[in-house]
């Protein structure tokens, strides 16, 4: 029920006024538009926009919503694709989330998104609503959300402001994700001063459904009703999208506080159950979730996607705050709202279901057979626009691109200039020091705040290399997901950095026994108005697109977050890449830690002297320079196929990817997991690969994994590696009773000693 509203004849800017008063001064600049964009709007409409239309265009044409600076580069993800790659793709980019067929008539939808700026301003709500938003995207594809992951990047650990952000963000993700009943199955946490004023909070969600459950965000049948349901609309986040994400933070300006959204996970949980019931009852013809740009986005996108138009009565929106103006209603980012397109004959059935779940709703209007979006406020027309121009035909920029002035010098400044210790005691001390640094230390302080059990389908979660959930209880069919990024590599070389991120996520999926199938990405960069940043973006997108083509797995969707900079200081280009893999039976999954005694430890792959951009260089020597490790994607493919083949034959007991920190860290992590020690010898490795002990322990060469194999499977496993041409070297044997990692010619490290450093770092900083 809603109150009968008086005609707001005074003060509402109508289309009639727009024609009658063409020269009125409009706040297009304050709303984040540029002058040429304002002029373009006038051109499209043949008159000045009403203030409601101006509000709509300003949010929909903002960087966050329109991707105007990134569009020309993102096209590559759709263009550099073969038919083979599209084989399992049911829905590609452009929709709320990509959808991938996983077999047995089942499909999975997944996507990662950013909520960076709000998480700096209000960490708790910023992170919470970030989770809420991505889950709604997944829901709107017709899927039941089944898991979440998050990728967090904070500033320097000792800086007091970092603690403020860390606490708020982790609490917010925990609060929202746990209340929704979604297991958190993994992610990353990185600390680096470069993210001090621009923390990155990326949130990912996965959903599962039957093929026939797929829903799309389009209104294609004239006469169908447009219904807004869920939470009431309030003043949340007004102007957030266009104001926040299109401007960087000034160090002297006033804090931009009010434009933050506030989330209620209980409302969203109810909404999830209600929507799933609506979908299964077949009463909905199209569905869109309301995220950035709220009603402006939902109406224009539904209409534009369906190739039709819409007629909307804005006074029908249920409000939390009766004082909101039409412009504010159109821009509101109140959470937990969805917009459904419902055929008239299904209205009663729709109402029955929403009433059962006590979800409020109101009919905003209907779909019309005209390429026009009309919005009325009472009897007055306040919006009359072609929907495509709002939703899809926004401005497209080809921004200037320039090689950063520092790039050449940066690439020349290799880590080979750093003095290396040769003494075994000192080398061992470096390993002990590195494992206790915040970036390598135990993250349980964070991950214990997340529910990993709910839904009862979590086969792998942190600290395993990827998260894995069972999708079919009958057959064990499941999916694995890994997300990775390395800002340091991308800073040194954005093209290679993006390739490396994909390679790592791909490898992290492969080590669990799953087969990589699809990709999502969250591209976190500085200001696109800075040609050096734009160069980084251009390079990184090309690197990612080329790498996807080489590996044969397509990008299904993703997100771009620009303006992550404070003043002139941009973050490292940080392309986060997520890879989804499929496994026929999760019972076959391979854990990352050692569990058994007397298993042989094999190092797969070759090690080169590649310490540029490494954790050893940055976190022990504060050095970042040179070129990132090389990656050979053919080798990654061979490695993945080997791991898959070996796991099908049940030859592998554990597999752990070697990445940041190098082999030394990987060995220690595998040992600490279940407190199983080992005797390790690296002599053969040093000889075969012609490297020194520092490189052996800390090099971050790619395409490497450590696996443990039971004695009875040794011969078979080695034969398999030889047949596939994957370098395989036995470097040790596990020892479940010694409580030590004994590295020959280096040190005997007591697990208790390593653990003491590793386990206390985060609690001491943030507990």
């Amino acid at each position: 029920m809603f109150k009968n509203k008086k005609l707001a004849a005074s003060g509402v800017d109508t289309t009639e006024h727009a024609v009658a008063e063409p020269d009125r001064d409009q706040p297009w600049k304050e709303l984040g538009l540029k002058q040429d964009e304002y002029l373009e709007i006038k051109n499209i409409l043949g008159r000045r926009p009403t203030s409601s239309e101006l509000a709509m265009y300003s949010v929909m044409w903002s960087e966050h919503c329109s991707y105007k600076s990134s569009k020309i580069y993102l096209r590559q993800f759709g263009e550099k694709v073969t038919d083979d790659m599209k084989e399992h793709l049911m829905v590609g980019m452009g929709e709320n989330a990509g959808v991938v067929d996983i077999g047995e008539g089942l499909a999975v939808t997944f996507k990662v998104e950013s909520h960076n700026h709000p998480s700096y301003i209000e960490p708790f709500q910023g992170a919470a609503t970030g989770v809420g938003g991505i889950v709604r995207d997944i829901l709107s594809m017709g899927a039941r959300p089944i898991a979440v992951m998050d990728q967090l990047r904070f500033g320097a650990p000792e800086n007091p402001d970092t603690a403020r952000v860390v606490h708020g963000v982790v609490d917010g993700i925990s609060f929202y994700g746990n209340c929704l009943g979604l297991p958190n199955i993994g992610g990353e946490t990185v600390f680096d001063a470069v993210y001090q004023g621009n923390p990155l909070v990326n949130a990912l969600s996965i959903g599962a459904m039957k093929h026939e459950d797929l829903q799309l965000a389009k209104a294609s049948n004239p006469g169908d009703l447009v219904i807004l349901f869920g939470a009431r609309t309030g003043a949340d986040g007004i102007g957030g999208v266009s104001v926040l994400a299109s401007e960087t933070f000034e160090s002297t300006g006033p804090t931009k506080r009010p434009a933050v959204q506030v989330g209620d996970p209980f409302a969203e949980k109810v909404l999830i159950e209600c929507c799933l019931e609506l979908f299964h009852a077949g009463v909905v013809a199209g569905i869109q979730d309301l995220g950035g740009a709220g009603i402006s986005c939902a109406t224009s996108e539904l209409a534009s996607n369906g190739g039709k138009g819409m007629k909307v009565q804005l006074q029908n929106v249920l409000l939390r705050d009766e004082s909101l103006t039409p412009e504010e209603i159109l821009m509101s980012e109140s959470q937990e709202r969805m917009c459904a397109v419902v055929p008239k004959k299904q209205l009663k059935a729709f109402e029955k279901i929403v009433e059962k779940w006590e979800v409020e709703y109101s009919v905003l209007g209907e779909v019309i057979d005209e390429d026009r979006l009309y919005i009325n406020w009472g009897h007055e027309e306040i919006v009359n626009v072609p929907p495509r121009t709002v939703a899809h035909d926004g401005p497209v920029y080809d921004r200037p691109v320039a090689l950063p002035k520092y790039q050449k010098a940066l690439n020349k400044d290799s880590s080979s200039s750093l003095k290396r210790v040769e003494n075994a005691t000192e080398l061992a001390a470096q390993l002990m020091q590195l494992i206790a640094t915040p970036n390598q230390a135990d993250k349980s302080w964070i991950t214990a705040q997340y529910d990993k059990y709910v839904m009862g389908n979590t086969a792998l979660s942190m600290p395993d290399d990827s998260g894995m959930v069972r999708v079919s209880e009958e057959t064990g069919l499941g999916v694995a997901l890994a997300t990775d990024a390395n800002g340091k590599y991308a800073y040194l070389n954005p093209y290679e950095g993006a390739r490396l991120a994909l390679a790592e996520a791909y490898r992290n999926v492969a080590v669990t026994g799953a087969v990589p199938r699809a990709v999502t990405n969250c591209l976190n960069f500085g200001s696109p108005e800075n040609p050096e940043v734009m160069w980084q973006f251009k390079e990184a997108t090309a690197g990612l697109a080329d790498a996807c083509l080489e590996l044969g797995i397509p990008v299904t969707g993703g997100n771009v977050s620009f303006y992550n900079q404070s003043g002139d200081v941009a973050i490292y280009p940080t392309p986060v890449v997520g890879v989804l893999g499929v496994i026929d039976d999760v019972a076959r999954r391979i854990p990352s830690g050692w569990q058994d005694d007397g298993n042989n430890i094999y190092l797969l792959g070759q090690t080169f002297d590649e310490l540029d951009g490494s954790a050893w260089a940055k976190d022990l020597h504060d050095h970042l320079g040179g070129q990132p490790p090389k990656v050979d994607l053919e080798k990654e493919k061979e490695l993945a196929q080997l791991l898959h083949g070996a796991s099908i034959q049940g030859l592998i007991e554990s597999a752990h990817d070697i990445s940041e920190g190098g082999l030394g860290i990987a060995v220690v992590e595998a040992a600490l997991r279940f407190n199983v020690g080992a005797r390790i010898w690296l002599g053969e490795m040093l000889e075969r690969d012609a490297i020194d002990m520092t490189a052996a322990l800390f090099s971050e060469s790619q395409s490497r994994v450590i696996v443990t194999v039971g004695r009875e499977d040794d011969v078979k496993f080695q034969a398999l590696c030889e047949a596939r041409g994957v370098p395989c070297l036995r470097i040790g044997v596990t020892d479940a009773t010694s409580n030590m990692v004994e590295i020959k010619d280096l040190a005997d490290l007591k697990l208790d000693d390593i653990r003491a450093g590793w386990v206390n770092t985060l609690p001491e900083l943030f507990g």
């Binding site: 209340c179 009943g181 214990a448 709910v454």
Partner: protein, 231 residues
Amino acid sequence: MKIGVITYPGTLDDRDAQRAIRLAGGTPVPLWHADDDLKKVDAVVLPGGFSYGDYLRCGAIAAQAPATKEVIKLAAQGLPVLGICNGFQILVESHLLPGGLIRNEKQHFVCRDQKLRVENNNTAWTSLFEENEEILIPLKNGEGGYIATDETLKMLEAENRIAFRYLDTNPNGSMNDIAGLTNERGNVVGLMPHPEHAVEPGFGPDTDIAMRSGIDGLRFFQSVLKMAVNS
């Protein structure tokens, strides 16, 4: 044997409870909070979650639901009832179990594998455990600290109504390390940890034997099924 699982708005672990019942050999029956028809089930589970968003007090609004009122009635006649986490909170708000459950001492949500001691194996839900058996059950909550007056605590101890106690660590400051209680008759049991998350190999807590192999929770559901068969 039919075991009902009630879904309230905001309930999260209902489907997991249903799975646990199925794996134990029973037939799970989904029940709706607004419906007082319990479909002649032989036992009821009040599952975990955040019913009504924990508004007012955890479990307070759910305690008023028609289905809950029916459960209270039938519990007095001996119907076995298991309240897990939020379900325990609903049992306490319904006064089927004494005391109160408040916010964690440390103010953070915590998800961990918790060692418990089964101190009363004469209840409908614990008959398949040994007395003082140590079990491993996942715990995940932000409000779960058990409090009660000295008088109530004395009574509970004296009458052996503490069904489970926390071992090794008390994760939420519960008085007397109380993890779960039973009523006088032994048909109503409530506990904060989640047995339904330790019922299937590969998805339970890590044990010394293998990763994720813990299934100590299964016997909760097998116990009540055994009881029904025997009665």
